[in-house]
Structures are given as C-alpha cells and as structure tokens.
Amino acid sequence: MPIVSESVLITLVVALPAEAGPLKDFFQLKPLRATNNVFQSDQGIRLLVTGVGRKNLNQSFARFTRSELTKASQQVSPAWFNIGIAGHRELAVGEMMVANKISCAVSAQSSFPTPVLSGNNYGEVLTVDEPELTYPQNAVYDMEAHAFWDMALNYGMLDLIQCCKLISDSPHDGVEKITAALIDEIFYAASYEIRQHVDLLRNLAYEQQQLMSDPAPYLEIADRIHLNVNQALQVRRLCQRFIALNRESELEALLATEYHSARDLTHILRESLKSAGKVIEE
C-alpha cells in the first residue's frame, strides 16, 4: 500500500543524472518547480542530483537547503539515502553493497550508519577525490558518500541516514568502461533491492513523523485559542495522553464545554486525567 504523503519522508541523493534517470522512473519523480536537479513524488520521495565529488555535493546541498528546506519544516525529510555507482576490487559489476562504515580518504574520519538495511554485501565506503584505479583497500570507492553523511546529519535522523553503492568498476572492468547505458543497466538490475531499501526507510520515516505529529484535537484547540509556547506543549501532551488512554470521547466532551482561556483548558484537562489516575480498585 503506497504511502501518500504531503511531506517529504525520504530524500535520495545521487551524483549523476544517469543515476537519477532510473530512480525517476522507479518512483515517478517529477521536477520540483524551477529546479533542474530536484525531483519529487506525491509519495514522500524526493531526489537530489548533486554532481560528482564532495565539492559539488556540498554546493548542491547548500543551494538546495537555502531554497527548499527553509520554506517549511515538512520539507525536511527524516530519511536520507545516498545511492550511486562505485568501484571495488573484488565485487562484480552490478553487485550492491550496503555501507556500514563511511570513511573519508582525505580526513581519515569514519562514520557508521546504523545497520537498518539488509543485503548480500556490507562494508566500508571510502570516499576519494579522484577516481581510484588500483582499489588498494577492501572497500568500495566512491566520491561523495562521506560528504553526503556530513550534510545529511544536519537534517535527517541519524538512524535513517543510509548509503548503498552499486559496483560499476573493478580491476577487471575499469572506470573507462562506465557509460550512461551501463549505469542504467546496473540500476534497473538492482531495482528490486533499491525499492525495498527506499520503502523500508520511507516507512520508518513515516512512523517517526506520525509519532511526532500533533494530535488532531490539539490542532483544533490551537486554531481556536491563543496558546503560548509553554501552554502549547502542555495542551499537546494532555491531548496525547487522552488519546493514548483511549479516552478520546471524553476529551471531545471536555473540549465542547466552556473554557475561557488556555489556562482554564489546561486545568480542566489535567484535573480530568488526575481524577481518573487515582482509581485503583473498584
């Protein structure tokens, strides 16, 4: 059952337009307003195409965050997913590897994505500034993952920032053989796994958004009377408690009674919960 969401749940980040093509197709992504590197669906999925390398990724993120993420909080997705081609000395072209460690060759810093995604191959993604031709370490070589991690940490939930790479080159199949057609082929061959990962992250993001969302009765109250920040927090939690305790109809009845201020309302709701809390044995 597809999730129809007004808010963005997951942002996919790729470097190349050739990587973006299949993803636009898989998830029915359409260009976002006047941009030429941001695409979005009505199912909570967004795609950002950054260009190759850490510098391009940083610049794209900066432009994107200035133009989009400041507009409304619902545009900030909890889940961020970097997917793209990379090289490895042993894995065959077309294989997918889920990153459980993302390192930067320049700074020698490493980060560790939470093991949320499952796959056949797991390992380290090592981000380099120039294409790696000799694959000296047992790692997947890419050019953006570490910069992606650093940027996504500013916006997403740490456990929902993930990265996986599709092998495009190896000692036997050098980078010179990479073409748009090959990338297309690799992405389509991995479409099932890609969809699975995106669906899982999107579902987790959706669950988190639902947990953090304001309860409907609270939104009605906030529409009706002025609440300062402190009152808003209190009334919101009181409404949550009525709902969690399965006392929504009682809440509705209380909200239908006369109250003159936010303080009045808070008092009424609190007293009602308090009196019920004292009952132990009938």
């Binding site: 459980n100 949320v116 456990d159 947990l211 305790l245 004292k278 132990i280 044995e281």
Partner: protein
C-alpha cells in the same frame, strides 16, 4: 541469536572472548571501531528504530567496573555493589528505564571480564562485613549467555570466593549453563515477574510466565538459590486480583520455604527517563497515566504505599516475612 552487525573495538579484537563470539556469529557483518561511543548513544540516535535490529558491540570497560548499589536495591546481606558487563537487553519491556537512559538499543558487551573480577576482588577486600554483587542492573545477565559466557566465567570465579555473594537478575530461561555447574551457595538467581496480563502487554520478547517458572523450578530442584522479584508493580484496576493469581502460580511451582528472598517494588524511574520514554512512545498508555514525583523519581499515581501494603498482605500468606524485602 541474530544481530544486525557486530562492532568490535580495535583494542579487544584479539581478546579470547571476542574471538569466541566472532566464531559464534559467523555471517554477521563485523565492523572494527576505535571506541564504542562511535556507534552507541550518539546524539540523534533513536532507541525505538534501533530496537528493530540491534547490533552487538564488543568493547572494553574502562575505569571503575564495580559501583555501590543504590540503597534498598537488594536483600540485606552485606555491602551491595553492582557491575554491568553489558548495556541493554534482548527484551523490550515498555516500562524499562534503559529506553530512557540510552539513545541506542544496541547491546554493548564489555569482554574484559578480568577487570570486572579485579574490581570485585578489590571491593571484597575493602569490606570485612561481606559483600553482595548484583549483575543485571543495565542488562539481563542470563539472556545472552550463549554469546556472553557470563555464567561460564563468573560462577567459577565466585565459587572460589564464598564470602562474596553474586545475585543475577534476569527474566530469561537460559539456565542450561547454570545447570551444568554444581550449585554454589553464594549465588542467587533472581527472576522478575509481573502478572501474566501485564507481561503479555508490556514485556515484549520475554519468555512466558510459565516457562520462566519452570526454569526457576529446575534451578531450585538442582540446589541453586533462587529469588523472586515481583516488580515492577503497576497499579491499575484489578491489580490485586492479578497479583493474587501470580502469587498462587508462582508458589504453586516454586517451594516458598526454599526461596532465598522475595521482593516487591513499584514502577518508578527518574523523571528525565520518563520524559525520554514519552518522546519515544507518546502513544503508549502506560506512559500516559497519572504520575507522582518524589526526589526526581516518578511513579504511577495509581499505586503507592496502600497498594504495596495490600500486596504484601497477600504475599505473606505464601511466604515468611523473614524472606521478604521491599525494593526501594
């Protein structure tokens, strides 16, 4: 036992227990790290998400390995201490304070047991009046026995130190390792119980009441000292009848006269932990209930002294008062 990954601190990669664990979890991705703080309890982590697929972290415990136990934590038998060779638990009890204490649900296992043992010896030497060492404060001590080899390591250790008592707190039925040993007089296996309905509702992944009682019965029959911890008591309508049934079930299986001790303790936790739990589970009815606060600790309004006294009255028809204490 499946883990989404195994992180290993470089410093203990060659440790014997590490090597043994790696052999047991073959097929699980292994990731080398410098310090467990790189993956555990980082700002922005979410306990609820991680609990879906926790990883195992093998680390070295630095600094003090043994700490004084809180006042009233256990049955008075000497100076109390606790040690945590592990952080977090296989089970997923909705009332558990660990969810409020850590942002991460991964299991941290400190493999340098030799340093815990040195810490235990040091405290035992400092106190002539006898010492009790509690395990299972930040974890379940038995649940991961096939991986942790906790009993395998600590039972022989305590067997050679009869003046010190080891109390193992658990909800697990992993008693096979204990049954393979000759019982020792200075080890108590303490099982926590809540009424069946409460257990089904809030103690996710915990073995059934009956399975746990049967495991305790096996231990008791083999000569191990067993104790029963009726906690946390969660006050609500009908709770007295639920406890009457639980007492009857428990003492129908276990011999009350041979129990080491029995305790009751109400649901309480630091206010900040409760707040963290509410953020994780705003929709959980247990956490939406009315609470009262004393000295920074929260407990349910529907409970308190009157309820505990009523339960104690019922309990004393099964167990002699001399074996009882109320958990602070």
């Amino acid at each position: 036992m499946k883990f989404s990954g195994v992180y290993i601190e470089r410093a203990i990669a060659e440790h014997e227990l590490t090597q043994r664990i790696i052999a047991r979890v073959s097929g699980t991705p292994v990731i080398t790290i410098d310090r467990y703080g790189e993956v555990f309890n980082r700002a922005g982590q979410n306990f609820r998400i991680q609990k879906r697929a926790p990883a195992l972290i093998l680390a070295k415990k630095h600094g003090k390995t043994v700490l004084p136990a809180p006042e009233g934590y256990g049955f008075e038998q000497g100076r109390g201490f606790y040690f945590s060779h592990m952080l977090n638990c296989l089970y997923d009890c909705r009332y558990c304070f660990l969810q409020g204490m850590y942002r991460s649900a991964h299991y941290v296992l400190f493999v340098n047991y030799e340093d815990f043992m040195a810490g235990i010896d040091a405290e035992a030497l400092n106190h002539d009046e006898g010492t009790v060492f509690y395990s299972g404060y930040d974890c379940d001590s038995l649940a991961m026995e096939p991986i942790s080899a906790f009993c395998e390591s600590f039972i022989p250790f305590f067997a050679n130190r009869p003046a010190s008592i080891l109390e193992i707190r658990t909800k697990s039925t992993q008693v096979r390792q204990l049954l393979d040993f000759q019982p020792i007089d200075n080890c108590v296996v303490a099982m926590s119980f809540t009424p069946e309905a409460a257990s089904k509702r809030w103690e996710h992944k915990v073995p059934t009441l009956n399975k746990r009682l049967q495991a305790m019965k096996k231990l008791q029959r083999s000569g191990w000292k067993v104790a029963v911890r009726f906690e946390p008591v969660i006050g609500e309508a009908g709770v007295e009848a639920e406890y009457e049934r639980l007492f009857s079930q428990t003492f129908g299986v276990l011999s009350a006269d041979e129990l080491h001790s029995v305790s009751l303790g109400e649901f309480r936790l630091p206010a900040q932990f409760h707040k963290n739990l509410v953020n994780l589970y705003p929709d959980e009815d247990l956490l939406a209930r009315e609470t009262v606060q004393h000295d920074g600790m929260l407990s349910l309004a529907a409970g308190g002294e009157a309820l505990l006294e009523a339960l104690e009255d019922r309990l004393f028809s099964y167990v002699d008062r001399s074996r009882y204490y109320r958990c602070a």
